[in-house]
């Protein structure tokens, strides 16, 4: 029973991280909270498959990204396709000191291919090493590195587009 309490409080402690990953991955608060909910439910019923002593955050992120890629990506795409004006906004928004402001950055992030955005978030924001990110995504370390590099290049290109008047 104490194991149950410990597991529950570990999940509770990871909720902010799970939400941050879900929101930045899916680009939507509504989808994200559904995604977190489903991840928590799956984690709860898969409790036995978690090996104590390993990173519970990495374990939860693995469950979440697998859920996202198998179920949520389609929904996200539909939303994304319907508001293509985000792209227009990005190009026409006034440049601010040659920098993307946070709202614009968010739009730019959402425009990245899913796998590149995922790699960038895991390594650049969630604090995972490339090795850990590779394990979470089930791919090679080199794949993570090249996804992160491509994501950075694309963000730079989008930024250059926005700031074309400045440069």
């Amino acid at each position: 029973m104490t194991a149950l309490v410990a597991f529950k409080s570990a999940l509770l402690a990871e909720l902010p991280s799970l939400r941050a990953f879900a929101i930045s991955l899916s680009g939507s608060h509504d989808h994200a909270d559904d995604l977190v909910q489903e991840t928590v439910m799956k984690a709860w019923s898969a409790h036995a498959s978690f090996s104590p002593g390993t990173s519970i955050r990495a374990w939860l992120f693995t469950i979440m990204r697998n859920t996202y890629f198998s179920q949520y990506r389609k929904a996200r795409r539909e939303v994304q396709d319907s508001d293509g004006e985000a792209a227009a906004r990005l190009v026409s928004a006034p440049a601010q000191n040659g920098h993307l402001d946070l709202a614009d950055f968010r739009v730019a992030l959402e425009k990245l291919p899913d796998d590149q955005r995922e790699a960038l978030i895991l390594v650049g924001a969630s604090g995972f090493s490339c090795e850990e990110a590779a394990e979470i995504c089930g791919c090679a370390v080199g794949t993570i590195k090249s996804r992160v590099n491509r994501a950075r290049q694309k963000l730079m290109q989008m930024m250059a587009m926005q700031n074309a008047a400045d440069l």
Binding site: L15, P16, R19, Q37, V40, L102, L120, G124, A125, S126
Partner: protein, 69 residues
């Protein structure tokens, strides 16, 4: 884990831009991290815990009347 050695030819201009993008990403992520957790998520954990306790109690006490939620 420095990526400097992977792309040694990177133009100097890119470094401050990349640093800025990295900051923006961390800022965005950090702002989400500090949002309050929706109640439905914490309640979900309470529900899961209750359900599991009930199930375990039921198993140890030769359960009856398990139909309620």
């Amino acid at each position: 884990m420095s990526d400097k050695k992977e792309t040694p030819e990177r133009p100097a201009l890119e470094l401050p831009i990349q640093a800025h993008l990295g900051d923006q990403l961390k800022k965005l992520y950090g702002s989400i991290l500090s949002e309050p957790i929706p109640e439905r998520l914490t309640q979900l954990l309470d529900q899961l815990e209750r359900a599991e306790r009930k199930e375990r109690d039921g198993l140890s006490e030769t359960s009856d009347g398990g139909g309620d939620k």
